[in-house]
């Protein structure tokens, strides 16, 4: 299995606070990987480093066998943990705007997703509930024809129905095009059965990584492994 991402000896600290501590990990191409760890494990910093929003002090990041570079961002859809969009836009305006600024954005596909997720195109972003705003942000990522999708805490703080709709969309997305998807989470939620590979982080370091089915065979459910590691 070729890898989409090769992280080697990556270190990043903010002042005296260490976010990534000599982290080495790899992420297989064409699979959904769960990036799991408690708050402060370094998950968000790692994703930001991949898209160049954070500059590591040490180490290297390889993206599809190339050193990380801002030009590669055209091939990456990144959902930040606190994503925001222009409040004055309607959903329709947001999608049209995305078509102009996001490389590989597929508008017909986005409209189909909005329909599936019961998003009203004429509603203002400013009036959306957290769950519905999360649905919009997921569409802005998954409607792009890109090789790599990075989702930082996509299930955090939203209602059950929105979480389930997002899972449906992820399944559709995997069916429609081969993609590498990273999902960071500090809870396992309903996404566990989507993971094919899992990377556990703690205090900026790798704790455990492996094929999800092999881990289930050896140690049980991903959720129980998580509890065992961080109890």
């Amino acid at each position: 299995m070729s890898s989409a991402l090769e992280i080697k000896h990556l270190s990043k600290s903010y002042g005296s606070k260490i976010a990534l501590d000599d982290l080495t990990a790899s992420f297989p191409a064409g699979q959904i990987t769960g990036l799991i760890g408690p708050n402060g494990a370094g998950k968000s910093t790692l994703l930001k480093a991949i898209v160049g929003l954070v500059k590591p002090q040490q180490g290297s990041i390889g993206i599809f066998d190339q050193p990380a570079h801002w030009k590669l961002n055209a091939e990456i859809a990144y959902l930040p943990d606190r994503a925001k969009w222009y409040k004055s836009h309607t959903i329709k305006q947001a999608l049209n705007y995305a078509l102009n600024i996001l490389p590989g954005f597929d508008l017909p596909r986005a409209l189909e997703m909005a329909n599936l997720m019961s998003l009203d195109l004429d509603v203002l972003v400013s009036t959306l509930s957290e769950g519905h705003e999360a649905r919009l942000h997921i569409i802005l990522c998954l409607a792009r024809r890109v090789k790599l999708v990075l989702l930082d805490e996509p299930f955090s703080g939203i209602d059950l129905l929105s979480r389930e709709t997002i899972i449906q969309l992820l399944i559709n997305s995997m069916l429609d095009q081969p993609q590498t998807i990273l999902i960071s989470s500090h809870e396992i939620h309903e996404a566990e059965s989507l993971f094919e590979h899992v990377v556990f982080l703690n205090k900026g370091q790798l704790v455990l990584e492996g094929n999800a089915e092999a881990l289930r065979q050896e140690k049980g459910s991903i959720e129980s492994i998580y509890r065992g590691l961080f109890r």
């Binding site: 064409g30 699979q31 959904i32 899972i167 449906q168 399944i171 559709n172 995997m174 069916l175 309903e190 566990e192 059965s193 989507l194 993971f195 094919e196 089915e213 092999a214 289930r216 065979q217 049980g220 459910s221 991903i222 959720e223 129980s224």
Partner: protein
């Protein structure tokens, strides 16, 4: 996880075991028991992935394995169908029975029970409830 009915198949998935093997095993057993007619179409990968909230790659892997044992046949653009060959189904049924017997024998061994005692216990057991 509660049991979920998808088309003619019923699934109950346990997240503490490999998911692909469970999908494979559920379908093999349903076919071996004769709960579905030969030649029946399996649920599409899309439907099964959605209903069971599984990664489509996991479902596809199980379907490829069924094809490999000739228990199903995937027709391009039409879907995956259970074989119409009853001999293949009989072979799979025997293989599943053998697996069950091996598991049974190993649990008897774990209890320290020998072959002759096991055989006499088997004769005593009531088959009809």
């Amino acid at each position: 996880m509660d049991s979920i009915q998808v088309g003619d198949f019923k699934f109950r998935l346990d997240l503490s075991k490999p998911l692909y093997e469970q999908v494979l095993q559920h379908i093999r057993q349903t076919i071996a028991r004769g709960d579905v007619l030969l030649g029946t179409k399996l649920p599409s990968v899309r439907d099964l992935a959605h209903q069971l909230k599984l990664n489509p790659n996991t479902v596809m892997r199980a379907y490829q394995e069924l094809d490999r044992y000739h228990l199903t046949e995937t027709r391009r653009g039409q879907g995956t169908f259970i074989t119409s060959d009853s001999e293949t189904v009989e072979l799979v049924k025997k293989a599943l029975a053998r697996e069950a017997v091996i598991a049974f024998v190993s649990s008897m061994k774990n209890l320290g029970i020998d072959r002759s005692t096991t055989e006499s216990l088997l004769k005593e057991v009531a088959w009809h409830e």
